[in-house]
Amino acid sequence: MARFFWGLHLVFKPWQPPGYSAYLLFLLATMIFGQLAAQVNVLGKPGYIMTPNARWEQENQLALSFSYVPQAYAINHFMGAYHTENIYGVGVGLTDFMEVYLNITRVRARASDIGVGDRHLGFRFRLLAEEKHGVSAVLIVSAPIGTNQHLNHDALIVEKTAELSSTLRLRATLGYALPVIFVIPTKEGNRSLSLLLKSKKQENIRYLSGVFGGFSLDWNEKVGLSMEHDGHSVNAGVFVRPLPWLLLQGHTFEAKELGFSFSLSFPLSVPPKEMRADER
């Protein structure tokens, strides 16, 4: 069992072959049988490629995600430059209207200087449910903390799904992200709660600002394709769910660069193994 925690440590060691952490996550996943993994964006929030959508079904599960973003479309602007980056994400549905997400970024080229960079904490709130209101709406709020706010985004998203046939489903999303970020300067010994407003442009933050949108078409939730405009570029991708708890996605950024991601999900209310083994 120590291997799991050991594994978490190894994930960030600089000498690893690529995909090693992915392999560890896969091992972990096979130990517990998971629930349906949702299509997620590079940060691990339900979404298309770069953009989030308003899908909501992560209650009672823990979602892990990994994504590879090529240099030209990288989000983190560390020390004045963009680099090819790997983004790890963890998400958990705390209540039926709130989810919490945590990200860390690993930039292989600068791993020895900045390591995992800063942590990013975000919340997702369900405003409207499609079954009830005909359209679903979600609010994303980034925690206004930290020294690197490259992943910060505060957005409102509306979405509509349509069943084209018994097996085909279309999902269309429109969203707006604030062109500013909120920051609470957190310094040791600083107890004043001041909230600063900073322009994303001035801070060199290029992730999600202004209007964005996307759609996806899926067959039985097993295979699908998606397309989006994230405010800067048009990206398109395909995804496949070989196992209920595993979703793999490959995509292109403006048909110029390739990226990929995958997500896993685990149930949080699973009975102990001794009980499950007895049932079989």
């Binding site: 440590h9 705390l94 791993a111 957190t186 310094k187 949080l268």
Partner: protein, 371 residues
């Protein structure tokens, strides 16, 4: 021929005298239950047991229901730290407090320490620190093998060995040493009033005394408690034990409110945290069944911080079990991440066993009925 006849008769009478009850008891003991006693009740029978394998008592109740077999059993009295926690109906899982008569019955039947197995527990101890410039991800992983032995009613001792596996976080060397070890006394002096006293070495390099009191009616939404500790710093360089004098005082009061629909608990605690850090801390804890996930933020004299914590039973649980011993992974692995790491903000320390607030939360009748 005659011999085998007597033999058969013998087996028959033995079977009669053992009865179904004995079979049910054996079957429960085989399934990991300890201190199993049957008790006559108004309508049928109650079964008293302690089950250390599962974190969530709901799982233990379901497991007992499946394993007890005997249909005349109408309810269970789960024990925690050798104390009866309540009576849960076998069919509906509804809760009622233990009566004085039931308590007295258990006191008479309680077998110490023979009612328990030698229970060896494997648990990892993992600390990490992010964001250091030179080594951005620092961590320390130890593996602990420990055991708990019950000495007297409610009184137990926990001790074991700590095996360092990996460490780039700090000193403490790579030698095997004494795992956090303590003497623990747990009592329920009045219904709904719980007291836990722990003395020994704790996690986060603390040693000393730790006291907990809680008022918790498992049928109610409100709970409150007091946690206080008088500790000092210790470490074990080789075969010696190095201790700083006892100097640090923790004194915390807390109130919890439970939103039953979502198994969500709001918790406000305030007072003095570790390191003379005075302030308040708010927690939001969601109980998923086996797993708890929590968010918190704290405002203290040391500053403002926040973070998250989670607790889950470590896979796979039971590793091997005999009649008198068992090897298992820990029923609760708890980890807390605090955004600030320079000065402690809103922190306490782990005592080597679940704290009363976290433990009692799981006996709540709504939590057990909700699942």
């Amino acid at each position: 021929m005659k011999g085998s006849y007597f033999c058969l008769v013998g087996v028959f009478y033995l079977g009669l005298s053992m009865g179904y009850g004995q079979v049910a008891k054996l079957s429960l003991e085989k399934a990991g239950f300890e201190q199993v006693h049957r008790m006559p009740a108004d309508s049928g029978k109650l079964v008293i047991w302690e089950h250390r394998n599962f974190r969530n008592p709901h799982h233990s109740l379901l497991w007992a229901d499946r394993k007890v077999g005997d249909s005349s059993v109408t309810g269970f009295i789960p024990l925690y730290m050798n104390r009866p926690m309540g009576v849960y109906d076998r069919q509906t899982l509804s809760f009622r407090p233990v009566t004085a008569g039931e308590r007295a019955f258990f006191r008479k039947k309680n077998r110490l320490p023979t009612g328990y197995r030698w229970n060896f527990r494997v648990s990892p101890d993992f600390s990490a620190r992010f964001g250091d410039r030179k080594t951005p991800f620092r961590s320390r992983t130890n593996l602990i093998l420990d055991t708990r032995v019950y000495l007297l009613p409610g009184l137990s001792v926990q001790t074991g060995v700590l095996v360092p596996i990996q460490n780039n976080l700090g000193l403490w060397g790579t030698h095997w040493r004494l795992a956090p070890s303590h003497l623990h006394y747990f009592a329920i002096p009045l219904p709904h009033h719980f007291v836990g006293i722990t003395a020994g070495t704790f996690f986060q390099d603390r040693y000393g005394v730790h006291f907990q009191y809680r008022y918790d009616d498992f049928d109610k939404r409100w709970r409150m408690g007091l946690e206080t500790a008088y500790t000092g710093y210790y470490f074990i360089p080789g075969r010696k034990l190095y201790t700083d004098p006892l100097s640090d005082v923790i004194l915390l009061l807390d109130v919890e409110y439970r939103l039953n629909k979502m198994d969500l608990t709001f918790r406000i605690s305030g007072g003095q945290f570790i390191g003379r850090d005075r302030g308040v801390r708010g927690d939001l804890i969601r109980q998923f069944g086996g797993v708890d996930v929590g968010l918190f933020s704290a405002i203290t004299v040391n500053g403002t911080s926040g973070g998250f914590q989670f607790a889950f039973p470590l896979f796979p649980g039971k590793i091997a079990r005999g009649r008198r011993w068992e090897l298992r992974t820990t029923e609760e692995f708890r980890w807390e991440y605090n955004y600030s790491h320079a000065a402690p903000i809103g922190r306490t320390f782990r005592i080597g066993m679940p704290k009363l607030s976290d433990q009692l939360r799981q006996y709540n009748s709504f939590f057990i009925g909700n699942q």
